[in-house]
């Protein structure tokens, strides 16, 4: 095994989100895909999406990049044409490239792509002029997508981050406190936001989001209920 191999889930064992049990209790249909046990659909999810639906996206691969600003830019440039810009997530090849600072970024990618992208970035990092790190933080972060016309109302109940479209437009990336814990929000599309937070807080965050969403007529939805982003 390589030095940091124990950070990445093994291929022969099913990976489980910290919100899996909540999803099952809410009636999810579960299906194993790309090594993860996913909530693919929920009863009543279409009506939830008419107000605010939330889907567990913890299975997204998360790769943390750290390097000097120049090195980070050149590592990223091997996969993304645009330069990363603070406050903005860049969409490339099905992944979100999210800069936390000039020297640190997190890539959120489909689970099937995680291993290959990690290998690719690790090779690119090896060519960097100084210290460059590619760390698999997939299991360190939980993720939820909240979508629907009342998505922002759901967020208004647990975060002070300003998500008005004129302040956080599509592709806006906003690290900050959610439900009184550290997190970040990506505006994936109009009325659709991807939120990440500490994985161990998954059950807690689910409870907070479900409480806010259900009061507004929303509820949990499966990953299949969300429109594909790059369609």
């Amino acid at each position: 095994m390589t030095t940091l191999a124990f950070l990445s889930p093994g291929a022969s064992v099913t990976s489980r989100s910290s919100m899996e049990r909540h999803a099952i209790a809410a009636g999810a249909t579960m299906e194993e895909r790309d090594g993860w046990n996913l909530a693919v659909s929920f009863p009543g999810e279409q009506s939830a999406l008419a107000t605010a639906g939330f889907a567990d996206m913890s299975h997204l691969g998360k790769l943390e990049l750290q390097a000097s600003a120049d090195d980070l830019a050149s590592i990223v440039s091997t996969s993304v044409r645009e330069r990363l810009e603070l406050g903005r997530a860049t969409r490339a090849e099905g992944a979100w490239w999210c800069p936390y600072s000039a020297e640190r970024a997190v890539v959120l990618c489909p689970p099937a792509d995680t291993a290959a992208l990690r290998e690719h970035l690790t090779r690119a990092a090896a060519d960097a002029s100084g210290l460059a790190s590619v760390i698999d933080t997939t299991t360190a972060l939980g993720a939820l997508t909240i979508a629907g016309p009342l998505a922002r109302e759901v967020f208004a109940r647990f975060t002070a981050i300003d998500l008005r479209p004129q302040v956080t437009p599509v592709f806006g990336f906003r690290p900050g406190s959610v439900a009184r814990t550290g997190g970040a929000i990506v505006c994936e599309a109009p009325d659709r936001y991807l939120m990440v937070f500490g994985a161990a807080l998954g059950q807690y965050v689910w409870t907070v989001v479900a409480d806010a969403a259900e009061h507004l007529g929303g509820g949990p939805v499966g990953v299949d209920a969300l429109e594909p982003l790059d369609a």
Binding site: L4, T14, R16, I135, A140, T159, D162, A179
Partner: protein
Amino acid sequence: MTRLPEQGGERIERDTEVSFSFDGRKVTALEGDTIGSALYVDGQRTFSRSFKYHRRRGLLCCAGQCPNCLVAVDGAPGVRACTEPVREGMKVEHMNASPSLDFDVMRTTDLVGGPFTPPGFYYKTFIRPRRFWPLYEKVLRHAAGLGKLRKSQPEREWRTEYRRRHADVLVVGGGAAGLNAAATAAELGADVILADEGPEPGGRLLAEGGVTHARGLVERARAAGVEILQNAPALGTFDGLVPVWQGDTLHQIRAQRQIFATGAIEQPLLFPGNDLPGVMLSGGARRLIGMYAVKPGTRAVVATVDDRGLHAALALIEAGVEVLCVADLRPHPNGGPSGALQRKNVELVCGSSVLEVRGRRELDSVVIGPPGTNEGGRTFACDLLVVSGGSAPATSLIAQAGGKTSYDEARGHFALAHLPDGVLVAGEVTGHAALEAAERSGMTAGADAAHALGFGDADSRERADADRERLAAPPARESAVAVPPPVMSERDGKCFACLCEDVTAKDIHLSVEEGYDSIELSKRYTTTTMGPCQGRMCQLPAVRLMAKETGTSMSDVGTTTPRPPWHATPLGAFAGRPFEPAKRSSIHARHRELGANVMWAGDWRRAYDYGDPKAEAMAVHKAAGLIDVSTLGKLIVRGPDAGEFLDRLYPNRFSNLKPGRIRYGVIASDSGRIMDDGTICRLDDENFYVTTTSSGAGAIYDWFTWWLADWQLDVHVVDMTQGLSAVNLAGPRAREIMGKLTELDCSAEGFTYLDGKQAEVAGVPCLILRIGFVGEVGYEIHCPAAQGEHLWDALMDAGREFGVQPFGLEPQRLLRLQKMHILIGQDTDSESTPFAAAMPWIVKLDKEQDFIGKWALEHYAEQPAETALVGFTLSNGHVPTEGAVVMPENGSPMGQVTSARYSQQLGRVIGMAWVPAALAKDGARITISDEDKRLEGEVQTSPFYDPDGEILRS
């Protein structure tokens, strides 16, 4: 029946009846009525009994400003009848009167209590004899407060929402100025929220014939995109964050600019009997007429200090009320409404005011004359006295934001003198009381706010400048104001400065005599301004009285500090949503299924035990135990300087640690005190895996990154605490269990104590650390959290044949105590150094590298510690409380027990304690005093279990 014919702009719907009950009596109202207007039509004049004297109180302001109409609605106390809309079937009850509103036995406090209930009487009476205190307490508790809360009222449980809002501009106050400000800012492109406390925006326009105009403004504002929050009072300002309470929702609004158009509050006049039902503010009378078509009386006297009362007199006449006399305190009111009044043959008495009022249950006569005349005066028999004592700008919210006021001699009130950055004001709160000026000041403020945020263009700026110029020019006809004296006369009868707390002018006189001569002291002593009105009705009168009593000026007296909440708010609004971020290991559900008792450990939910901590500990000794230690902090520290970085942070050395090996570390601050501990495994040349205590994880990550920001070493730190599960498999059978699940050589020779290796365990990629916190051969296995439950299940399945048991935090505490492994924060405190904590070996002062804590530790190394952390054993079976005192033969306490348990494995009580350094030697005798018990113990400095570590190394 006192309902008037249709008034333009009335809020009632005459075709829709609504009925409710008041103290069991059925009352029929019209849709749109408030409880107050409906009861008034029904003939009710007494709405409440006062706080201390239980005097009758009637409608005064009809605007939710004063305390006079507080009632209980459906069991919820403290509802203002004058603004609460009627609902079919609602149950309204009086408060603070027993047995009934009409006959209240506590009224005796008023009749006989004057001399017995001066300010602070509760400090002076009910003191002796002391043994009667329980009785006094019962009586006082019964008498205190206004409403009654039932302890359990499930029908009143309701959900409150917190809602974070953002805007470019927030306008507080929906009168003419606020509406203009909001509309103007929005028309220039700003995102605007307007919060108004009333049921409909419009402010004074609603009651004063301007409904159509108000509705036009609302339409204009809405068309420009303004979001209008109705029935939504702002509660305070907190560094630019304004909470607005609306129904069941607390909007927390952060706007880049705030415009306060909060208006002014009409002030009462102070004269004997000024609280009698039938005395009403001019605004209250006008609201009854204009908004609810209620005739407020049949024969009225009006007393005023400015034009406001004259306008009210005209409105009364219009409503068919016979106005007997208008007493205007100004010597020569002329022009405007005075002419109109004269044409209506109303007697206008200048330079006069109310000297006293009479009436038993309610007003029946008023005495008019020049202020200060204590004899004579003209008496008018009437059932309504309309007073207008001038206005006080509603500056509280602005002052909370950092605004300052100063005394305006001409107007006789405290006016705004300084505004903080980002705060704008408009309308009557700035003195622009006339409609045109109020509207123009609103437009100017709205434009200024928008321009400051980059909206608008040259044209709009020019328009705003022109408006500003016109505002600055003095109005053609300034409405003069007479500043009323603190009290109108010294005649018999109570003259109330504070209606909420029943504080009279005489009480303030007494409080000054007793030495409470500053307004802030007097406030606390008399409780003036501390009641439900929050100073709206009493601040200015109290300042006037203080100035008179202390012989100083209004400026010198000043005002009290305004504090939130500005508006009465149910406590539930502040209880809000519970955000209690609870971390849970990915194996948490399994612990639940295994019957774990779960407790908080820092911000984690952890298994305390699985029902039998003693048996769990014995399983570790006899077979194997499995504990979830996912809560440990887990950091990746990597880079060419990683070894040097750790050498600088820890008193011991890590740069010389061999890859694949583990070393224990204690981290100290620059004062040489222990902050945290953990193990560090060197994965390869450039990668270290650092664990911290569970509760220290966040602080240590911050500590690392902070020093990294300072030192700028070539190091990256990644916090994997929540990303990795960790379990510790320990016990004599642990090796066999591992052998079933991994291809790794787990033999004593192949995988020695303090080795760290990576391997798959049950198919899961793992980092396995051979460490021995619990004292038996153990494997601390770290793996991706998403597969932690699988790893746990596999270990439990594989271990079943060997007798593996899950064990919780409590047995772990016993097991580590047997090994004298300290718990940071349990056995150490913020004063503990590694030397005193019996770990001198961990400090490498010969390290060539400077490190955090070095200088202090050098100092402590030379200074023998006064106290030392030692182990002890007790021969009898009593387990001392943690925190029990270590006693000398005689004298004062000299140490304390930090940990103590009964060890079944060792057959005795063991513990750790801080003792004088002289006693830190094997065999020393100590005495522990635990409440009433004295326990004799013996000091032990080496681990109780496996002192030489032979088991661990096996």
